[in-house]
């Protein structure tokens, strides 16, 4: 394990440090943030420095505190959604591969149709119908993103299903669930873990985009996407404050992508060039 981290390229180490910082911010937000998430503590748009390190936002709430609390809301919601997408897509993908026949056909065709509508557009349609709150957000994006997980899980599992040992397990009379859990899953773990990282990035960007459009996490909860939107007017005065939450989104996604990139190279058996 130690050796593994020693061979990690600098980009991956950078990624891991960033992710660790975000996790600390998420867990200890109330201890780190100087003010509370939602209370109005000053005038609107106060400048940096003094009592407010990064100034205040459009309603006079402390910008830094909201930035820290938003880590909880945005990242937490994105993680939860990714888990939903994985539970649903991963399971049905493995099921489709292991069971084959009409189950596979039915699930694959449903996924084909769902994927033929661009997902941001589809989620906008579904959010119009279901209304926007945290639960519908998780379900809508989770279900839509599970289609991608399904495709991958099915594809990698199909490689396992054709092997001799799987044939043997079938002859032994193993049950379907047992086969999925004990025969297929251990053999497809690596690509699925990498996909989890990538999916998280996509979900995270989608939720931020929806929040930016005013259709995601609802007020007064702090969240990076809506913080950018609410304070965007400052940009026309040359103030970079609204870019900080957007940068926070970008930084985390870059970090996760760097780790996934490294992991993919490792698991695909490619030689890691010294660099």
């Amino acid at each position: 394990m130690k050796k593994l981290f020693e061979t990690a390229p600098p980009t991956a180490i950078f990624g891991m440090i960033i992710v660790a910082i975000y996790l600390i911010l998420m867990l200890f937000a109330p201890l780190i943030a100087p003010y509370s998430e939602t209370s109005i503590v000053g005038q609107q748009f106060e400048p940096w420095g003094g009592a407010f390190l990064l100034g205040t936002d459009n309603l006079g709430r402390d910008f830094l505190s909201r930035l820290i609390y938003a880590a909880r809301n945005t990242v937490g919601l994105a993680l939860l959604t990714t888990v939903v997408a994985f539970a649903l897509g991963g399971f049905s993908g493995l099921l489709a591969a292991a069971r084959g026949g009409w189950v596979d056909q039915l699930l694959s065709r449903i996924v084909d149709v769902m994927m033929s509508i661009p997902s941001l557009i589809f989620s906008l349609l579904l959010l119009t119908i279901a209304g926007t709150n945290a639960l519908t957000l998780i379900l809508v994006i989770g279900v839509l993103d599970s289609t991608r997980v399904f495709r991958l899980a099915r594809a990698v599992a199909l490689n396992v299903v054709v092997t001799d040992f799987f044939e043997a397990s079938r002859l032994r009379g193993e049950g379907l669930m047992w086969q999925i859990r004990r025969e297929i899953l251990p053999n497809v773990m690596a690509p699925l873990i990498a996909e989890f990282g990538l999916r998280f990035c996509f979900v995270f960007l989608t939720i931020s985009a929806l929040s930016f459009l005013g259709l995601g996490i609802q007020v007064p909860s702090a969240d990076w996407g809506s913080m950018v939107r609410d304070n965007a007017t400052l940009i026309s005065f040359g103030d970079i404050t609204p870019l900080i939450p957007a940068g926070a989104i970008a930084l985390l996604t870059v970090a996760v992508n760097f780790i996934v990139d490294w992991f993919l190279r490792l698991s695909s058996g490619l030689k890691i060039t010294k660099g």
Binding site: T11, D112, V113, M114, S116, I117, P118, S119, L120, I121, F122, L124, L125, L126, L127, T128, I129, A130, C201, L205, S208, A209, F212, L213, G214, L215, G225, V228, A232, I235, S236, F237, G238, I240, P242, L243, A246, G247, I249, A250, T253, V254, V256, N257, F258, D261, T273, G275
Partner: protein, 318 residues
């Protein structure tokens, strides 16, 4: 050659089937709404009589299946109904908005495609060098940036600080072509940066895969010059993956356009969709979703057909 036409015909058939299924999904997901559009419009003030009257007016008293075919039939003739929010004819709004969106997407594509493919080929040729590694890090970062982050950075630098380009893309029907090019430069540049990274990485992957093939190695051993190798041996086979890459990213542009339009307050279809979602103007949402989905499917279909048509192996009789 017969094979080729058969495959293309199959694809087209599949595309039409997908389009139809998508229309079913878009129409019937509204049926999931607790209550119906009539209750949605009247809200708190609904009495059973006014509800019934409005349902008759909107034709909601018929079964969903009848309404679906009615909707589809109207749609194929370009009649999208009227907006719930302001009672305006949707097809009128849609034509103006959609042409704006297509203009922006085309503008971005014209900048992005040549750049991305050239850079992708260069990176593939000089793979595993420092140039390649830097390109890898830069493109990965750009993929990770939310669209609005790139957009605001560009506004801050090129519009607020340097004052080179306008930060608002407020076009109207009277705006001339040249004015449009100027007003839309920043939105187009944002989209370009977003898609270029994807396109470059995928072009690189397609070519690297190809260069690992035995026949390329054979050509190298025969002493074919690098340029001839690339143009005569590799390119014909790389064409189909590259076309796929381009089309996939054009489809990606269609989604990216929504956010960029909102940032730059550009009167396109994406902006319309977002506004209608917050107003819960369901007919407009349905119509714009269908328009977006149609473009997306058509692009993917074109990619499929082109990549079949340019596949050298299918050009000759077996």
């Amino acid at each position: 050659m017969l094979d080729l036409f058969e495959m293309i015909a199959k694809r087209l058939g599949l595309g039409i089937l997908t389009l139809w299924l998508v229309s079913v999904v878009i129409f019937f997901s509204v049926e999931l709404l607790p209550g119906d559009i009539a209750e949605e419009i009247l809200g708190q003030s609904a009495t059973p009589e006014t509800l019934a009257a409005l349902r008759t007016e909107l034709g909601l008293d018929r079964t969903a299946l009848v309404r679906y075919f009615d909707w589809l039939w109207d749609f194929t003739r370009g009649d999208f109904g009227v907006s719930l929010a302001n009672g305006r004819d949707i097809s009128e709004i849609l034509v103006f908005r959609f042409s704006n969106t297509l203009f922006l997407a085309a503008y971005a594509a014209l900048i992005a495609i040549p750049f991305a493919i050239t850079l992708g080929i260069l990176v593939a040729l000089y793979r595993e060098t420092i140039f390649d590694r830097i390109a890898n890090i830069v493109t990965l970062s750009f993929i990770s940036f939310p669209e609005f982050f790139i957009a605001y950075i560009l506004i801050l630098l090129l519009s607020v600080k340097l004052g080179w380009f306008p930060s608002l893309a407020n076009v109207s029907e009277g705006t001339t072509f040249l004015q449009r090019l100027d007003l839309l430069f920043l939105p187009a540049l944002t989209l370009t940066l977003v898609v270029m990274a994807h396109m470059m990485r995928m072009t690189r992957a397609a070519i690297v895969n190809l260069l690992a093939m035995p026949y390329v190695e054979m050509a190298v051993l025969k002493g074919v010059s690098p340029i001839r190798l690339l143009v005569v041996h590799a390119l014909p086979n790389a064409l189909s993956p590259i076309i796929n890459v381009v089309a996939l990213n054009l489809a990606f542009l269609i989604t990216g356009v929504v956010l960029v339009e909102v940032v730059f307050v550009y009167p396109g279809l994406g902006q319309l969709l977002v506004d209608s979602v917050s107003k819960r103007d369901i007919p407009v949402v349905q119509a714009s979703c269908l328009a977006f989905a149609m473009t997306y499917i058509l692009l993917n279909l074109t990619a499929d057909v082109l990549s079949i048509a340019t596949n050298p192996r299918l050009m000759h009789k077996r």
